[in-house]
Symmetry: C2
Subunit: 113 residues, 2 copies
């Protein structure tokens, strides 16, 4: 089991935005081995390409408009909305208006550290 | 093991705000047995009283200003910031300016359904 653990508090202004390329930046927030919260900031037109992972994922849309594909479902959602991705299901987003996705994963995304 | 699972998409305008009393309202968003995302909307002055639970919790602050106590730590955080609560650690918030906490828990909060 991982003993990794975040600080208790995360401040946006003091946390590095990691450039993921293609108009996407990430901030990793609170986590331990069981859960992780991360922000993904998208420029208009940026594409989170279809992918899958064994982690379950829930998301909250903080600003912007996104076309979200999860398995065989596709929907345009906006600021204040959210989605759920079961483990190992292909999913991806297209950013129609700039915004940020607040993602939570279980277990943690070790690949984000 | 619970077989409970949310819909794939959650729309803010179509999801009920559950009144928790004392100036706090909740929307439950994506979940399965391993994780749950929920929003807690606070009026200015509302108090999330000190409590603890076995679930690990991560939070993102969507608007507003909150004084957050986690174990022996206390900090004022605002829109865009976040925090991490280990299992079984006492924590609570005081809302200094109206806003919404985006909370994720692992495992899910069965008591929220």
């Amino acid at each position: 089991m991982s003993l990794a653990k975040s600080s208790t508090f995360q401040l946006e202004e003091e946390t590095q935005w990691e450039d993921q390329g293609a108009g996407i930046q990430r901030q990793v927030f609170g986590y331990d081995d069981k859960i992780m919260l991360a922000k993904a900031r998208f420029e208009k037109g940026a594409v989170g390409t279809l992918h899958s992972h064994p982690h379950v994922q829930v998301c909250y849309v903080r600003g912007g408009v996104f076309e979200v594909t999860i398995g065989s479902e596709k929907q345009v959602i906006k600021d204040g909305d959210g989605f759920y991705v079961p483990p190992n299901i292909m999913h991806g987003v297209v950013c129609l208006e700039a915004g940020t996705l607040i993602d939570a994963f279980s277990p943690m995304r070790e690949d984000f550290l």
